[in-house]
């Protein structure tokens, strides 16, 4: 199972790591369904990670990373900085492991998100957005907690890759896997697994046109950072990460076939189609793969779109539902 690592010795994660992660997280995360989108042109299947307990694939990486800690280290707890799905994933995974968690959230985070994180049993520390990382570092040092980064970490990457193992078990002869790209945690885990287990399957990343830093990075051969003033404009908030991770980038170069981009209206139309035709609540970032497929179904053959998350602001869902389907 270590053939991928033998073939690409410099990468931080191997297919064997992904397989091991799967055994570690079994029973803690939902084995999400692969659903046919029979309403879509061409052949499209949906890997509905939006149906995880916290509504996103992030649970996989968080559970794996915490499970990998030495018991005495784990017992001291974990810390991260995130106002989004990763923060809730760490809170959820820490509670499942019976260890404390501190989530550093930016001042100005909505009360709903703060409350949801507290409901999961985590301690929420508010900090000015610019000082979140430093505050998390202080918590780590003072309390002996371990930092669980959102994507730039081998155990997180291996955990996210487990969803590809499930997809490959559920469907044969997949031509294309369409994967949303933010910091690159999901697509690098998926890329490692697919490269090792299904050579016929292309892994294609999808970004908003307004946050296409990963596309630019792969095109230029080095990590390119996009300005937050640009990425803040996309409705797909899960992809606003300014640059892909250090560990993630070489894996993406080795295993990702292409990255395509979609426009804002295409993203909202995909959210609407998923709600009305597949009865799934999916957040804009989670709908990127479907948006790409609808734009050019013939290109992707037998395709699977990963619906990475479902935590959508109700006001955005309102807006999306007005789009024709």
């Amino acid at each position: 199972m270590r053939t991928a690592s033998q073939g690409a010795p410099g990468l931080a994660v191997t297919a064997g790591d992904v397989v091991a992660a799967r055994a570690r997280i079994a029973g803690h995360v939902v084995r999400t369904p692969l659903l046919p989108a029979s309403w879509a042109p061409g052949e499209l299947w949906l890997k509905a990670e939006s149906l995880q307990p916290i509504g996103a694939f992030k649970l996989r990486g968080a559970v794996n990373a915490i499970a990998r800690l030495r018991p005495d280290v784990r017992a001291r707890g974990v810390v991260t900085h995130s106002s989004g799905n990763h923060g809730q994933a760490v809170a959820w995974a820490a509670r499942a492991a019976g260890v404390p968690a501190v989530i550093v959230m930016p001042e100005g985070a909505t009360a709903v998100k703060v409350e949801a994180t507290r409901e999961l049993g985590a301690e929420v520390v508010m900090a000015p957005a610019a000082r979140r990382e430093r505050v998390a570092g202080t918590v780590r040092a003072e309390r002996g907690m371990t930092l669980i980064p959102p994507y730039d970490h081998a155990d997180v990457i291996a955990g996210q890759g487990t969803l590809a193992l499930e997809v490959l078990e559920d469907l044969d002869e997949i031509d294309t896997l369409l994967v949303p790209v933010g910091g690159g945690g999901l697509i690098s885990g998926v890329g490692i697994a697919v490269a090792s287990l299904s050579s016929r399957t292309r892994v294609i990343g999808v970004e908003p046109e307004l946050a296409a830093d990963a596309r630019a990075s792969l095109a230029r051969g080095h990590r390119v950072e996009w300005d937050a003033r640009s990425t803040a404009r996309t409705i797909a908030d899960g992809t606003r990460t300014p640059v892909v991770g250090e560990l993630n980038f070489p894996i993406m170069r080795a295993t990702v076939d292409d990255i395509v981009t979609v426009g804002e209206d295409e993203i909202l139309a995909a959210v609407a189609a998923l709600a009305r035709r597949s009865r799934l609540v999916v957040e804009p970032s989670g709908a990127l793969g479907v948006a790409a497929h609808l734009a050019d179904p013939a290109r992707y053959g037998r395709a699977v779109a990963v619906l990475s998350g479902g935590n959508i602001d109700p006001a955005v869902l309102f807006r999306a539902l007005a789009f024709p389907v």
Copy 2:
């Protein structure tokens, strides 16, 4: 496997029929996931039939009923009258079987519903609401088609019961199955399966207070019809059937432990909770079981709510999303 029929010799359907139906429909319907609702008080699981291709469990009964027809009879096609999920289920199942389908729809049905049914390859015949049954009968006689009734039919009941087999495979020691009740097709199929395979599990039907004809029927020991002027008031349009079916009623008497009712605001709050906390688009009828559970979680122990369908009017989803979760 025929113990249930031996124990209750007068019933139209046996557990063996349900098991046989399952083999017949495998590969044609989605094996829907059983998802934990970890946000809910108590222990609640969701059988997400809203994720079937047409967005409702009705596919199971329609596929089974068509598969059971003699090949020469089946080849002449099928007919039904429905503006709702059953019509689309028959259209979908007929297309999958490669036979023609006529769906008689009431004049005044929305263009969206007519179009969705045509998209599935069916011929749509419009008729005044009061004459739909007669028109379907005429189509049947003139074209030699077979009528597929929505619930009062042994093969339909057996097909719907297959979802209980999946639930019992996925989760042990279920105390309560919460099942929406309209004409009784779903709950009678589920009741037959559960009575035979899991004696510890109670089958509890759920109706809107405004359409509680099944509850009244079980209480009085005979089928009670509710006036359409009453049942039309509930937002749960899938339960507006005025009276449970003839074949269904004796099965319900033999296998259903109780029927509870919920109010309109409780139904909408359950729709909102499912959309926001479980990221599932569920129609009001499909949310009845969750509404009942939220009203009294301690009563049901380890509970499974069947989310029977997800075909909600976007305007109703808007309304529901305004409810606090």
